[in-house]
């Protein structure tokens, strides 16, 4: 199945509102668009427990003993890869790391063959990052275990969206996103983080604002125009309107490596017009939560003094990333225990 094949372009389905204690039923985690609100709540609750484990003298439990987790990254990454590895090890899983550039992939092995090989080597779960949108969906069709999408192209980054949500809830009074103004600022065009966050945040009732130069907002207009029952979503290039009374501000990296010429006049102009500075921050709520998924270009999308401001939770995001990924590995493991293929 290709991502989005089950929904007409530009239409956000209404969030599933009925919160029931539904058990976890997803074998793969490819994106957050298939998660109901109660499933998101289950991830958050499980993450709470994992955070507790991280504070113990020995931050390790035997829950995934005997599980083989393969981390297969076709794209550069520090925090996501290390965070998944630490998470798997904290749960006592056995971890194998494959960097595509140092594997048979460089000899031209296809993705499907690579996945079959990893399965034959005994992997129960594969955490995968790929530069092509939808690649994990193809992997999920051939793999007998669980695929966790660690980021695919411009499409989705589900574990990041869930750790962002967890971080926001732990900082916002009352721990709820309901009616909160959450602003995602920057290069949303190339951002899988923005796309996945849009699903979880609107599902949890947040008032989401996407802000950036109009050249970087393409593709979102259709979503914003259609909207959907129960999901609030505004698209704007007006940075002062977006920042006004914001409860959460998430700056996104200007992805230089993906910046085709002509989308921005210059990085300096972007920094001047959209960069998150102390001055701009004054328009937001006094307790605004400042976030950035990293890696940062300091002085471009976020000023250095904003990144280390007491209201910044950027390092919390990294710590919470481990806990969220422990929760995801744990929940997914339950759907195919026994043995792959059995």
């Amino acid at each position: 199945m290709t991502p989005g094949a089950d929904r007409p372009d530009g239409v956000l389905p209404a969030p599933a509102a009925v919160p029931s204690p539904a058990p976890w039923a997803h074998r793969h985690l490819l994106d957050v668009d298939t998660l109901t609100r109660s499933e998101i709540e289950l991830v958050m609750k499980t993450t709470d427990e994992m955070r507790d484990i991280l504070t113990r003298p020995i931050p390790k439990v035997p829950a995934l003993r005997g599980m083989a987790v393969t981390i297969l990254f076709y794209e550069a990454s520090t925090r996501t890869r290390v965070s998944f590895e630490v998470a798997a090890k904290n749960l006592s899983a056995d971890v194998v790391n494959i960097t595509a550039s140092a594997s048979s992939v460089s000899k031209g092995e296809s993705l499907v063959d690579t996945i079959r090989t990893i399965e034959a080597l005994g992997a129960d779960m594969i955490v995968m990052r790929h530069s092509v949108s939808g690649a994990p969906y193809l992997a999920a069709e051939v793999f007998g275990g669980s695929i966790l999408n660690g980021g695919d192209g411009w499409h989705a980054h589900p574990s990041q969206a869930l750790l962002d949500l967890f971080t926001m809830r732990s900082r916002l009074p009352g721990g709820s996103l309901e009616g909160r103004k959450v602003v995602i600022l920057g290069d949303v065009l190339h951002s899988r983080v923005a796309r996945s966050n849009l699903w979880t945040l609107t599902a949890m009732g947040a008032d989401v604002w996407i802000c950036g130069p109009s050249t970087l907002l393409r593709g979102y207009e259709a979503w914003a125009a259609h909207g959907a029952a129960g999901r609030r979503f505004t698209l704007t290039s007006d940075v002062s309107a977006a920042l006004k009374d914001a409860d959460v501000l998430m700056a996104l990296r200007i992805q230089k490596e993906r910046m085709a010429s002509g989308l921005l006049p210059s990085l300096r102009e972007y920094a001047a017009r959209y960069g998150l500075t102390q001055e701009r921050l004054r328009a937001a709520s006094p307790d605004v939560v400042v976030m950035h998924p990293g890696p940062m270009n300091e002085g471009v999308e976020i000023a250095a003094d904003v990144a280390v401001d007491p209201r910044s939770v950027i390092t919390d995001q990294v710590t919470n990333g481990v806990a969220v990924r422990m929760a995801l590995l744990y929940l997914l493991a339950g759907t195919h225990h026994g043995k792959v293929g059995a």
Binding site: P23, E49, D52, P57, V61, G66, G334, T335, H337
Partner: protein, 188 residues
């Protein structure tokens, strides 16, 4: 949850009182004593034991809650991951004599998992075990130090300890499982 009632609310209350005395007697006082309840019904039982000890010995012992989900040996056998209910041990258990509290002692596997979990929090001086019901059928070399009631059962039966904090009433019921299903070793 309908079955034959084998302990009434009053019996449960009396058992808690008796066990609370036994715990202090066996330990020779309350110094260095702590209680840890196993989620879910062991937690309110531990709290009640602590209250009873506070009443007759005038000392409020530290009480913790332990979730053993991540330590179960049957995670690979159950169809769905059990929902985690939370561990909360707000004291340093190094050097304490820790009394584990649970509702039903059955195969002993829960207690094995609980001991592993406790060890990850430190090195207790000793671990003891108090349960409301011992129903037999042990699969591991584990025994309880304090028992509310010994109940001979068959594997086709299931024992429910009801506590007011969770079930709205106190009591112990025994019921027969439908169509020859066996109780797995998982739950107790």
């Amino acid at each position: 949850m309908s079955g034959r009632r084998i302990m009434a609310a009053e019996d449960v209350r009396r058992a808690v009182t008796r066990i609370s005395h036994e715990i202090v007697e066996k330990h020779g006082g309350t110094d260095g004593l702590a209680l840890v309840g196993i989620q879910r019904r062991g937690v309110p039982l531990a709290k009640r034991l602590a209250d009873a000890i506070a009443e007759h010995d005038g000392v409020m012992l530290p009480v913790g809650a332990l979730d053993i989900t991540f330590y179960r040996d049957d995670l690979s056998l159950v169809a769905q991951q059990p929902i985690v209910k939370g561990t909360d041990i707000g004291f340093d258990l190094n050097g304490y004599t820790v009394v584990l509290v649970d509702d039903v002692l059955y195969t002993g596997r829960t207690i094995r998992a609980a001991m592993d979990a406790l060890m990850d929090f430190g090195r207790p001086k000793a671990i003891r075990l108090a349960v409301m019901v011992d129903r037999g059928h042990r699969e591991l070399p584990i025994r309880a130090d304090h028992v509310g009631k010994n109940v001979p059962t068959s594997r086709e039966e299931v024992v429910h300890v009801l506590v007011e904090e969770v079930d709205g009433e106190d009591g112990v019921e025994i019921a027969r499982l439908p169509d020859g299903r066996l109780t797995g070793g998982a739950e107790s």
